[in-house]
Symmetry: C2
Subunit: 202 residues, 2 copies
Amino acid sequence: MLTLSGAYPSLRHPFELEKQSDECPCEPLQRPDRFNKEELARWMVHSMDWGVLTTISTRLPDGQPFGNVYSFVDGPCGKGMGTPYFYGTYMDQSFHDSKQNDKVSFTLTEASLPSSPVCARLTLSGKLVEVNPDSEEYTRAQAAFFQRHPQMATWPSEHNWIIAKLEIEDLWLINFYGGAAILSIEEYFSAKLSPDMQLERL
Amino acid sequence: MLTLSGAYPSLRHPFELEKQSDECPCEPLQRPDRFNKEELARWMVHSMDWGVLTTISTRLPDGQPFGNVYSFVDGPCGKGMGTPYFYGTYMDQSFHDSKQNDKVSFTLTEASLPSSPVCARLTLSGKLVEVNPDSEEYTRAQAAFFQRHPQMATWPSEHNWIIAKLEIEDLWLINFYGGAAILSIEEYFSAKLSPDMQLERL
């Protein structure tokens, strides 16, 4: 059986180090009303630090789906364009899988925010696309990662970290009760989380 | 586009109601040493309340993977056999998907436990299988759900709730640092979380 190894550096587990600091680098943005669905989705993508990235497994037989926890950003604190970016390596199973099939989904829940009173659920589906390391988009995305997940800046370079983004093709939201809503991608991208929020393209 | 509706009852969002009570129905079991991988996996499956269930989407094109947040149990408090059980309905997207393709995975992370110092990640893969509603297994699983997620007992019966279980075929764990481990299914099922722990088959 293939076991990918060394995806994360020894004694530098990303989560553990991030947990050593209780300070959140971002001021939380106010949660939109639950019935403003596109705004709620944008708020989730901007406010949350991690979710579950799913791929079609290349390790398991029969094209089985495979979920894996990933940190992400959609821009620096208080800014962001709604597209999730991932800091990873092809040594990790999910990025490895995506080389064979770039169709993925990324699932978020308010249950990951301990202080949140309700639990909206959002799944974004689309293609996982590597960002050109020589682009301005890469430089800006890396700066956002290092601001919001500071320990990533200390991860050793021999792991060949890359940045990939989810090109969103579908948005599935359960905002409160009743059934799921399929959101308009255009309205999602044009939603503003607060009157003075700056949208920053990565 | 198909949008499944009414998966959860109006004004009775499962998470919200469960959050109204701060009391956890179970006494937490002590976390095993991180290097006892099978025990750590068993502890995660017994201690955690929710994870992300992934299916092959029947709604999205091209067999895209789809992740969805699900509550689960592997048995009553302090007991349990390691198999995740889900209380759901074919009105919900994931159960609907599983009718076409029963290959799923279920992803857990210690990041879902706010008090946890580290973040192990576990993905269980296998088949999602409906439990016969006339069986003792169903009765015992339902009792475990109503103990650990008390509001489920109030969900209205017209949603045709069913109980399904994940028949585990693969266990993928990142326990701390370094690469992922593929666990022995036999050792996983024979692991005991504490000397006096009772294993209870559902």
